[in-house]
Symmetry: C2
Subunit: 289 residues, 2 copies
Amino acid sequence: MAVGFVGIGAMGEPMARCLLRGGYRVFACAHRNRERLERILAEGAVEAGTPAEVATHSSAVITCVPDAPQVEEAIFGPHGLLAGAATPLSFIDMSTISPLATRGIARRLIERGHRFIDAPVSGGPVRAAQGNLTIMVGAQAKDFKALVPILKTMGTPTHVGPVGMGETVKLTNQILIANIMLANAEALSFARKSGADSETVRAVLATATGANYLLEEWLPKTWFANDFAGGFALDLLRKDLSAALEAARAMNLPMPASAFAYQLYTAQSAKGDGADDYSAVAKLYDQFV
Amino acid sequence: MAVGFVGIGAMGEPMARCLLRGGYRVFACAHRNRERLERILAEGAVEAGTPAEVATHSSAVITCVPDAPQVEEAIFGPHGLLAGAATPLSFIDMSTISPLATRGIARRLIERGHRFIDAPVSGGPVRAAQGNLTIMVGAQAKDFKALVPILKTMGTPTHVGPVGMGETVKLTNQILIANIMLANAEALSFARKSGADSETVRAVLATATGANYLLEEWLPKTWFANDFAGGFALDLLRKDLSAALEAARAMNLPMPASAFAYQLYTAQSAKGDGADDYSAVAKLYDQFV
């Protein structure tokens, strides 16, 4: 079976590799980073000139791009997937976007006789490479059942509700990580300013009630290693937080902590760290420590 | 060896039980809750009329009370531990208080020829009962070595630095839990308002980057069970946050997220939930969900 992939980026590259390992034929087209595509082609993927051409060869297509406008372009653009799609084509959007946008895109595809599921992921490039992502799927039950083997090559898919609910649960995770990363940054800065040894503190707190994944698994590779390259870009987190705040606004739900966190991440982005890992928000405190 | 215990409260009761299980003779005096003392006496502890009398019988004394004024009273009050202490006596303060207060108390005791270590704990009553607390110890190396067998009956002690550093690391944990609990409350409210099934969301996020101890171990017993009795009182968390903000102020360190969180916990306390578990802060969102 042939699966198309649009968005061979930091996540898309290892995810496409998982599909190849799982025995799928993969059709992909150039993304911003030609090197990533070349590596995938060298491992057996086939290049297509445009998303439309990707769709022509595929019975399911995956989009994994930064935000809703890019999903729109990849599907509905002049050379988009839809232009080359035989009916019915299965669309799997693994981008993190607003669930409002997701439901709009799904409606337009379903009207045309296609299938659509949203399947955003959590785990970052390291777990993507291991085929060990958490995959949150919004779908009709029959579509989930039909497409779950594709998703299983990349991680553990869970059916969390109808179309759009995958994005909702993903944004729920992003609300968590935005606030928890800030909590870690503020707490560790407090400890450091007090003269505590950061590594001792990290080790002890891993066994205390403040224990969290980011402190145990993420910060040792970024803040503790003083290496903010790679990881998950601060500006992408801001985009996700913005989508969560937009969805909350549409529901009349106040999210005071996340709105406040958004402002602090924006301050750090304004200082030039938007492309760095979002743990760079800890630098806000460095000037005082 | 005889160990004195002042503060047989929600934490002190199971901690004193650990000492008895560990083979220590335990001397204790009445706290606010007479029933807790009675249970400990029935298991072999010996009642003393005052902290002074506790000290007379003990070669090490533990204080585990709500805040610095209560530690002051228990040690330096007219019937306090110091009044009955033979020199040298080992003081172990397991309360969570400001490290500034800790260092002042330690200085006054050491001047008088006594020993002092701070050894606050994390884990809550359930882990206290299991003898499985995280214990963060600020001490001189020789005092840590001398007193670690006592602490080991209650959990896992780690020597994190000189006197006061135990409190610093404990407050670091409290900064984390205050912000992480709020993050969980806001994120889960977002998911619920969006129509997601809370239990499904919890299970999926336990494998995602937002995974945290409070979501996995604490909220199932409180917010998910709609049972906010017991646990860790919201007003005690406010007291800890206040101590952390005071210590930060003394160091000229801004803590914007924690200062903001403090205001939200205060709002919920003002609604009458100060004695409930601090996860009751989630009720701030309930009115909108």
